[in-house]
Structures are given as structure tokens and as C-alpha cells.
């Protein structure tokens, strides 16, 4: 082998030797390299970027749940008066003192009603 006379020649000889040493790698080493490469590609599979839909899915779900919660909370008072006051009024009427007296004199009222009809000649 000739002595390198300049930088290019030294680099050329060094690269030729390096390339040859690469070509001389044994089968066991090549097999291990192959295994390492496939492990790296498996890593690529594990870190595969998710699709646009999947990427925004958690945020979309949280936002949708928040909207539903706000609508349910805000929507309830806008539906108008509750039936509760009406029921309370009915109870007031039923439980008023006059009505209780009417119930006690039920026989009197049942007698006076046909008599009233006979006198006035109408049901009004």
C-alpha cells in the first residue's frame, strides 16, 4: 500500500478500508442489527400519530358534556311556573274552613239542590 501523498488519497484509502470492514461483518452481527432495526420500527408503530378525529376526541367529549350540563342547568327555570303553586292552591281550597263545613252539611246540600231546581225550573 502506497503512502498517502495528500488528504484526498488518505481519505480514499481510509474509506476503502472502512467499506471493506463493513462488507466483512459476520452473519450473527447482521442478524442482531436486523433485530435492532425491527425493534426501532416497532417503536414507530407504538408512537404512530393519531388521526385528526382521535386527536380531538377527548376535548370534544369534554366540551359536549359541558354544553349538555349548562343547557340542562339553565333550561329548567325557563320552562315557566311549576305546577306546585296550583296544587297548593287546590289544597288551600279543599282545606278551607267553609269547605269543611260543607262536607259536614252534605245531607242538607243534597236536599236543597233538588228543591232549588223545582222552584227555579233550571239547573243554572
Amino acid at each position: 500500500m502506497n503512502e498517502p501523498r495528500n488528504e484526498e488519497e488518505l481519505a480514499r484509502q481510509a474509506k476503502a478500508l472502512f467499506d471493506e470492514s463493513v462488507d466483512r461483518l459476520d452473519a450473527a452481527t447482521l442478524s442482531r442489527l436486523n433485530q435492532g432495526r425491527h425493534e426501532a420500527l416497532a417503536e414507530l408503530e407504538r408512537t404512530k400519530p393519531v388521526g385528526q378525529w382521535a386527536r380531538w376526541m377527548p376535548a370534544t367529549g369534554v366540551a359536549a358534556a359541558a354544553v349538555v350540563a349548562v343547557v340542562m342547568w339553565q333550561g329548567t327555570p325557563t320552562e315557566g311556573p311549576l305546577p306546585a303553586p296550583d296544587s297548593a292552591t287546590d289544597f288551600e281550597i279543599l282545606l278551607s274552613e267553609d269547605n269543611l263545613e260543607m262536607l259536614e252539611d252534605l245531607e242538607f246540600y243534597s236536599w236543597i239542590e233538588p228543591a232549588d231546581l223545582a222552584e227555579n225550573g233550571n239547573v243554572g
Partner: protein
């Protein structure tokens, strides 16, 4: 309603090319790694002078490239890969330095360098006479020793420029320095090697 169906259909139709693109990227990465792995191994082996360690370093570099830089343009992979590998080699040297200090503290030195024999490690090539084979192996042994004795930055510059044929810009990316520094390190490395190998390469 039909507009919603249309939007959904468009969204779904976009997923298909994305999967195909990922597969294509995986094939490209496989092809790149298959093309670079042998040279990377020898590169790392010359630097750390141990084949098992070099295999681990190359595998780590491949995994890190796949994990962090697979979405980068393909033409950037080579300098990025060698940058990762270089960083791994530097970390390996740091760990070795710490380990050696600990071993010295406990009264035991490292025999790894003394036991390393690149000629014995190299497999037998075919198709050449034993004399030619021996001569080539001896030359490679001398080259490895000379390159191994270079300062780290000069070694990196020389190996990346000469063995991997990276241009100055690519070498600068791989080394994480300026192009001017690459030229300086490379020039000094070549001068040192020329002086060191001149007496052997005859």
C-alpha cells in the same frame, strides 16, 4: 343533515391516505435504517472499540430516530441519525470515565481496551489470498488505532466526512457545531492521521 353526512364522509376519507402515508413512512424508515446500520455499527465500533457496546448504541440511535424524528423529511435522517449516534457515543465515554474512576477507587482498572483486538474480531473475508487479507486487516487495524487516538471532535469530523461521505453542512448538523468548526476539526484530523499512518501505510 346531508351536509353533516358529507362532512363526516370527507373526514373519514381523509383517514385512509393518512394510514397509507404512515405505512409508506415506515417502509422508507426501514429502507433507510437497513442501508445505514452496517456502516453505523462499524462507525460506533471504531469509536468505542467494542462490538457489543456498538450494537447497543446503534440500536438506541435507531429507536430514537424512529420515535422522535421519523416525521422529519427523509433527506434529514442521515445527519440526524449520526447526531443521535454521536451523542450516544459521547454519553458512553462519560459513563466509561465514571466507571473507570469508580474502579480505580476500588483498586481495579478497566481491561477492556487491552483485550480489544480488531483483527481477531473481524470475520474472515472470502475471495482473497491470506496475504492480501492479512495486509488489509493490518491496515484497517492501524487506521482504527490512529482514528481512535484522535481527539473526539476530530475523530467525529473525520469519520463523518470520510466514512459516511457527509458534506460539511451535514457533518455540522451531525456534530452540532458550525461548518467552520467541521472544516477545522477535519483538517487537523487528516494532518494527524497522515503523520501517524505515513510510517505504517507502505
Amino acid at each position: 343533515m346531508s351536509a353533516r353526512v358529507g362532512v363526516f364522509a370527507v373526514s373519514c376519507s381523509r383517514e385512509q391516505p393518512k394510514g397509507a402515508m404512515t405505512l409508506q413512512r415506515e417502509r422508507q424508515l426501514n429502507q433507510f435504517l437497513a442501508g445505514v446500520e452496517r456502516r453505523a455499527l462499524r462507525f460506533a465500533e471504531i469509536a468505542v472499540r467494542d462490538r457489543d457496546e456498538a450494537l447497543d448504541l446503534v440500536q438506541d440511535a435507531m429507536i430514537k430516530l424512529a420515535r422522535n424524528y421519523s416525521q422529519q423529511p427523509e433527506n434529514e435522517w442521515t445527519p440526524l441519525f449520526y447526531r443521535i449516534l454521536q451523542n450516544g457515543i459521547r454519553d458512553w465515554y462519560r459513563r466509561q470515565a465514571v466507571r473507570n474512576r469508580v474502579m480505580v477507587w476500588f483498586g481495579r482498572g478497566s481491561d477492556a481496551d487491552k483485550d480489544f483486538d480488531p483483527v481477531a474480531q473481524a470475520p474472515d473475508p472470502g475471495g482473497r489470498s491470506p496475504d492480501e487479507q492479512l495486509q488489509t486487516q493490518e491496515a484497517m487495524h492501524q487506521l482504527e488505532n490512529a482514528v481512535g487516538r484522535l481527539p473526539a471532535r476530530q475523530r467525529e469530523a473525520f469519520m463523518l466526512r470520510t466514512f459516511e461521505c457527509l458534506d460539511v453542512a451535514g457533518t455540522a448538523v451531525a456534530m452540532g457545531c458550525s461548518q467552520g468548526s467541521v472544516k477545522t476539526h477535519y483538517s487537523r484530523a487528516v494532518h494527524t492521521l497522515r503523520d501517524a499512518l505515513g510510517e505504517h501505510w507502505q
